[in-house]
């Protein structure tokens, strides 16, 4: 009786303001039943706020949503779930200390006087899980699962509750390529079974791979809603930014003939016989799937215990801690910006010198003036958008936070800078700026090691690329005009040469 192309959700002029900020300035569009509807926009465009309203986590200030033609104004998350809208948030929202089964029913248990009744949908849950990943058992403790597996548990949880609309907020942000592909297949299967999916992502390739239509938000306003068919990535980016950003590999200008770092036969519990060199003024990329050992290589270079030999400028160095690594001339921009990079409560001026307090000390004391000057220098140099250098860094946008972390790292003035996922969760404009900063560094004679799970970033940025698979270095290739991305994918996916 209903056609698959009819409208399931109508959104009419949704507005939301927080004290001092208008997060949404009137958003209206329709979502077709059984489609994958993507929402894109830069950080701060209002995507997260919109999702929170749609899923009942926050009320809208004004406007109306209709679900299946009926007015829909969820008062609480459980209202939305009861009416068939489930959401996968950007952060994993499962409870590590509970089992898979307990997580699947969390908050939705049927009960009598708070005693849970035996779940009647366990078989269903088991079969859904098996569909995605047979190795996950209902009795497994979630803390023992990988990130992708946790994500699958979250998806399963939504499916078990019989939702008709599944909202996914950057589900692949923390996933490796292989795992992303897996999730893409899952989404396709869900769509084919008639579910409506609202999909939010920074990764344009994914959107074009699975999306049917797209809504573009910019600064809290809806810029466009249109089918993806017939659009190009450039079209979409233009809509998002109002300007086109193309990324092309530009080789570093340095001579790159002096070896500053030699890593020989380094092994840990997760790495086997790692060998590579790093030249002065070079950007070296590490690429591989999640679990291939990129992060572990970064850890070894930043003072983690290992067997094997690391030579810097020809001398064997022996590092036992992060502080040893810093002393030996390494600096790290860590993967988890919020948890390992910034000091959210402190202002930019206090964040920047923390890796190298000497730069703001005069006669053994901290000089306020030196601190301010230093902060201004980096705000200027890295184009950090902040109204005030004492503003808590936690209140800055993701890209600007990342720049603060980089500034802190640059201030160390180390010879070798390690960057683990330097642009994760950063919007496209800031990403470009960060890449320029990295190139600049290399051109000034620093050596940069970039660990990234984004191939585009690696090929657009690095002079040489180390390909990793299963804790081993598979191959080191020179970047160039005609780099073969298909070949790279084959190597990191473990395909034998």
């Amino acid at each position: 009786m209903t056609r698959t192309s009819d409208t399931i959700i109508e959104i009419r002029d949704i507005k939301k303001s927080f004290p001092g900020v208008k997060a949404l300035k009137g958003v209206s569009f329709d979502v077709a039943r059984g489609s994958v509807h993507c929402i894109v926009g830069e950080n701060g465009a209002g995507k997260s706020t919109f999702i929170k309203i749609l899923t009942g986590a926050q009320p809208a200030s004004s406007g109306e949503i209709r679900l299946n033609g009926e007015p829909f104004a969820p008062y609480h998350v459980s209202d939305a779930i009861a009416q068939g809208i489930s959401c996968l948030y950007q952060e994993l929202n499962i409870v590590e200390d509970l089992s898979v089964e307990q997580n699947l029913s969390l908050g939705q248990e049927k009960h009598k006087f708070l005693f849970p009744k035996r779940a009647d949908n366990l078989d269903k849950a088991r079969s859904i899980l098996a569909n995605f990943d047979e190795s996950i058992k209902l009795s497994d403790k979630v803390s023992n699962l990988s990130v992708a597996q946790k994500q699958i548990v979250e998806i399963t949880r939504a499916l078990v509750t019989d939702c008709s609309v599944l909202v996914m907020d950057e589900p692949t942000a923390a996933l490796s390529l292989g795992e992303t592909t897996k999730i893409m297949r899952v989404i396709e299967r869900l769509r084919d079974s008639g579910m409506t999916i609202i999909y939010i992502s920074h990764k344009l390739s994914e959107i074009f791979e699975i999306g049917d239509s797209v809504t573009v938000l910019r600064d809290g306003e809806m810029v466009a809603t249109q089918p993806l068919k017939g659009m190009t990535q450039t079209d979409l980016v233009r809509l998002m930014l109002g300007k086109v950003v193309a990324e092309q590999y530009i080789p570093s200008t340095g001579a790159r003939d002096e070896t500053v770092l030699e890593v020989r036969d380094v092994s840990t519990r997760k790495l086997r016989d790692i060998n590579f060199d790093l030249k002065k003024g070079e950007i070296l990329g590490f690429y591989g799937l999640l679990g291939a050992g990129k992060t572990e290589v970064a850890e070894v270079l930043f003072g983690h215990d290992c067997r094997g030999e690391i030579r810097k400028d020809g001398n064997i160095i022996n590092m036992k801690s992060e502080r040893d690594a810093l002393r030996s001339g390494f600096a790290l921009v860590p993967e988890e910006r919020r948890e390992e990079g910034i000091f959210g409560l402190l202002g930019i001026a206090k964040n920047v010198p923390l890796m190298n307090m000497k730069t703001v000390m005069k006669n053994g004391l901290v000089s306020g003036k030196a601190e301010r000057d230093l902060a201004d220098k980096y705000i200027d140099m890295l184009q950090i958008a902040a109204s005030n250098r004492n503003h808590p860094v936690a209140l800055l946008s993701g890209g600007n936070q990342q720049k603060v972390v980089i500034a802190k790292c640059l201030n160390r003035d180390s010879d070798i800078i390690l960057m683990d996922e330097p642009t994760r969760g950063v919007d496209i404009g800031a990403k470009q700026e960060i890449h320029n900063i990295i190139r600049d560094l290399a051109n000034k004679g620093k050596s940069v090691v970039v660990f990234s799970s984004e191939l585009q970033e690696i090929t657009g940025l690095c002079d040489r690329i180390v390909l990793m698979y299963d804790g081993k270095v598979r191959e080191t290739i020179e970047n160039g005009e005609n780099i073969d991305t298909d070949y790279i994918l084959d190597v990191v996916a473990g395909k034998e040469a």
């Binding site: 004290p19 001092g20 930043f302 992060e322 502080r323 690594a325 810093l326 002393r327 790290l332 860590p334 988890e336 948890e339 390992e340 990079g341 910034i342 000091f343 959210g344 409560l345 402190l346 206090k350 010198p353 923390l354 890796m355 307090m357 000390m361 004391l365 901290v366 306020g368 802190k408």
Partner: protein
Amino acid sequence: MKYLMHYLQTDMQKVILMGILAALMIGLSIASPNFLSITNFTNVLLKVAIIVIIASAANLLMITGNFDLSVGAVLAFSGILHAYMSKHGVPVELSILITLIVAMAWGGVNALTVSVLGINPVIATVGTLFIARGFAFLIARWDGGANIMMGLPRDFVDFGRDPVFGLVPLAIVVMVAAVAIFIFIEKRTALGRKAYAIGANLKSAKLSGINTVGIVALLYVLVGLFAGLSGVLQTSRVGLASPTVGKGLEFDVIVAIILGGTSMLGGVGSTFGMVLGALVVGFTANGMVLLGIPFYYQTIAYGVILIGTLLLSQKFGTRAKA
């Protein structure tokens, strides 16, 4: 004016404390004719001196996200130890020195358990509290009584009672010095900067090469030192060392720090705010005794001020931010 607005926005709690303090001053001046006098202010300062001296160090410790519940016991232990040694022939100066070293060792125990071994400070420092308090009683008992007073040499008491420059009591001088030292550490030294960083984000601090274990350990030792110093000062001033002193002092210290705007989670706070917090508590207690109010109202007032200040600053703090 603009500066004032900025101040209002960022330091709401301090403003509220100043307001409470001003209201207390005005109210008490009207209610009690004996309130407004130099001796009374000296009394209040002497009373809060012990709290402020310890809280100066403990404040920076809390800024790193840690705290110490053993300060009261270490204070009692140090007082008793100092008295015991002085009584049994150790020169007062040497005795003070040894006491301070032992007090630092108590801080070292906390440093070891909390900072190095990573035990939760609640349990670890309560353990130290029990041990130090138990030994305080035992030392007094080994001396042959429940406290030590008789046979203390004259210069033992003189140390605590003789005013500095014939004007200011030593405890107040030490208090001012402690506050000055820690404001200085907070504003002008790498130690202060790093303490804030540790409290703001421990993991980032580690990856930035900050010696997190060492700094937290150092601060525990400093808190021990200042608790010991307070014990020596208090014992000397009173002229009697009792193992029962300082019960509940750990809460007084924490209340002063929290009232002053330091977060238990670390990362924010200031020595200046802590001093304000201690003064509010001190003047409230002083005023209530001056007015002859029974002591249990003081306990209630304590709780009301603590919760009330936080609620107020929350209310006005958010409004100012909006």
